[in-house]
Amino acid sequence: MLTYLIRRLILVLPVAFGVSVICFLLVQIAPGDPLTAIMPVDATAEEQDAMRAAYGLDKPLPIQYAIWIGNLVQGDMGKSIATGRPVAGEVFGAVQNSLLLAVSAAVIAFPIGTALGFLAGYFRDTLVDRGVTAISIAGVSVPNYWLGIVLVIIFSVNLGWLPSMGAGPGGSSEWQWNWEHMRHLVLPAVTLAVVPIGIVARTVRALAGDILSQDFVDALYAKGMSRVDVLRHVARNAAATALSVMGLQLGYLLGGSILIETVFNWPGSGFLLSNAIFQRDLPLLQGTILVLALFFVAMNLIVDVAQAAIDPRIQRT
């Protein structure tokens, strides 16, 4: 297990390096001079050159990258152009809110998806199976930003049951564990849960179906084991793969909540990202994407290690 862990950790380093290069290059592919956002229009050529030197923009790209990454490992992600505040602080505050939303969606989606998928796999080729398959195809096909709007129309506009905007009363962006804040979480979390319900249901259905058709299941029944005990064996066989799919989905939920956060004005990383895009706040854009991508990389790593810990067959490969 330890050798597996070390081997897997070593594999992460080049990926993390690549991710940082892509995030660095994002600013380079942006059209226009990065200085135009901060310099007054009537700045002379000398003033521009001085500013360029001050920001290190006159140096060759690899040197700029080295400076950037050097600051990064010290926790300095630069300053937001729009607010002047350090990017790191802004990003971590927002990521917390996004994480809350993503985990809530996962708490809704994973049990429902697993239950639906298992039912479909167990009652294969019956009406139940067809129903679940229809739900999961609809779940993965629905544009969830539209679904969010539809839920707002139903539950906020028509019924008036739930708030449609923000993370708390009066546009508060500070999360608190109370009833008012929880009410604001319901619609975005449910909206975000729909796609992973479809994906988890589809995966578990295929898994359960495959495992139930294996010989060992017949053997367990033949030796007189009860149905519940047999299903425990099936669950144990399916656990590693199912967990890895769910882990990846949690990563996707965090990175993919941008559109949903925009629909619900949820003060998370997606909201920050769209502000950064419209104010052409490139350091903020770069920082947010870097943090989200690194989180996804870490999630992948955790999933792989957890999978290996659960399923001894994986370490041997």
Binding site: P14, V15, A16, G18, V19, V21, I22, C23, L26, V27, I29, A30, P31, I137, A138, V140, S141, V142, P143, Y145, W146, L147, I149, V150, V152, I153, V157, N158, G251, Y252, L254, G255, G256, I258, L259, T262, L273, S274, A276, I277, F278, L282, L285, I289, L292, A293, F296, V297, N300
Partner: protein, 298 residues
């Protein structure tokens, strides 16, 4: 097994010779017998044709607004699907909207199919250092959730049709490359490739004659399964304001601009999303149908 004599030495009538059915006619026959897939193919085709021939359908001008006829409800005289926040005919805008939405929703997958196949087949066939360079680069892109990567690139490049095409193509090249590489490595290990090489065929000839025909079907089916995601993402970029620019009719953008109307005329404002949903649902079902008709296993 087939060679052992199981007839007890008696002469056997040779089976009547049937013309062997080709692979593609088999696929076609299976598709025709699959009603759901045919319906979905019909819907997608109808949407594409309506979008392409929109000017011939006698619709209202999708750009011409009216200050006095804003946000008319569904079923209004002369505007069967109502009007949008600037008084433009919704039916016309939804049908014209198909032009950009379907183009930006499908084109990136087509481009990524060619580029990703080329990269993946090269990596899988050549192997070695080339494989390492291509596949490790692909791994880095897999570290980004697809939505995040699309928004990151589009956000940096700015709004615009070409920028959307570029960013979505970049998003879909890595997954297609990975599939193409896996299939090609599998085929590369088979004996007939060695046999072809032993006859002195060069790499290009072997790929062209022996590899492509055997790997393209699974890559193609995989690519079709990405079209639905690409549609949703493309419309999502416009929804965020980093895709198509107003006043062009595009479903994601329309969904965004109509959000201001959800308290005035809620169901009208949900219409563009219905179009995105129907299209992406049909694309998904179509891809599933193709997968089973072409006998591709994942």
């Amino acid at each position: 097994m087939a060679l052992t004599d199981t007839t007890g030495g008696q002469a056997v009538e040779p089976a009547p010779i049937e013309k062997p059915q080709g692979y593609w006619s088999g696929v076609g026959a299976r598709l025709v017998r699959d009603p759901l897939t045919m319906i979905c193919a019909g819907v997608v085709l109808a949407l594409i044709l309506a979008a392409v021939f929109a000017p011939l359908l006698g619709l209202a001008d999708p750009y011409k607004g009216s200050m006095i006829a804003r946000l008319k409800p569904l079923g209004t005289e002369g505007h069967i699907l109502g009007t949008d926040e600037q008084g433009r005919d919704m039916l016309a805008r939804l049908i014209y909207g198909g032009r950009l939405t379907l183009f930006i929703g499908l084109m990136p997958v087509v481009l990524a199919f060619f580029i990703g196949s080329a990269l993946g087949i090269t990596a899988g066939y050549v192997g070695g250092l080339t494989n390492t360079i291509i596949m490790r680069t692909v791994d880095v892109f897999f570290a980004f959730p697809s939505v995040l990567l699309a928004i990151a690139i589009s956000g940096a490049l700015g709004a615009g049709i070409v920028n959307s095409l570029v960013s979505l193509t970049i998003v879909f090249i890595p997954p297609i490359t990975r599939v193409a590489e896996a299939v090609t490595s599998g085929v590369r290990a088979l004996d007939y490739i060695d046999a072809a090489r032993a006859t002195g065929a060069n790499a290009w000839t072997v790929i062209r004659v022996h590899v492509i025909g055997n790997v393209l079907s699974p890559i193609f089916v995989y690519a079709t399964s990405l079209t639905s995601v690409c549609m949703i993402l493309a419309a999502g970029l416009s929804f965020l304001g980093i895709g198509v620019r107003p006043p062009e009719p595009e479903w994601g953008l329309m969904l965004n601009t109509l959000r201001s109307a959800i308290y005035v005329n809620p169901w009208l404002s949900a219409l563009p999303g219905v179009m995105i949903f129907i299209t992406s649902l049909c694309l998904n079902l179509l891809s599933d149908g193709l997968r089973s008709a072409m006998n591709v296993r994942d």
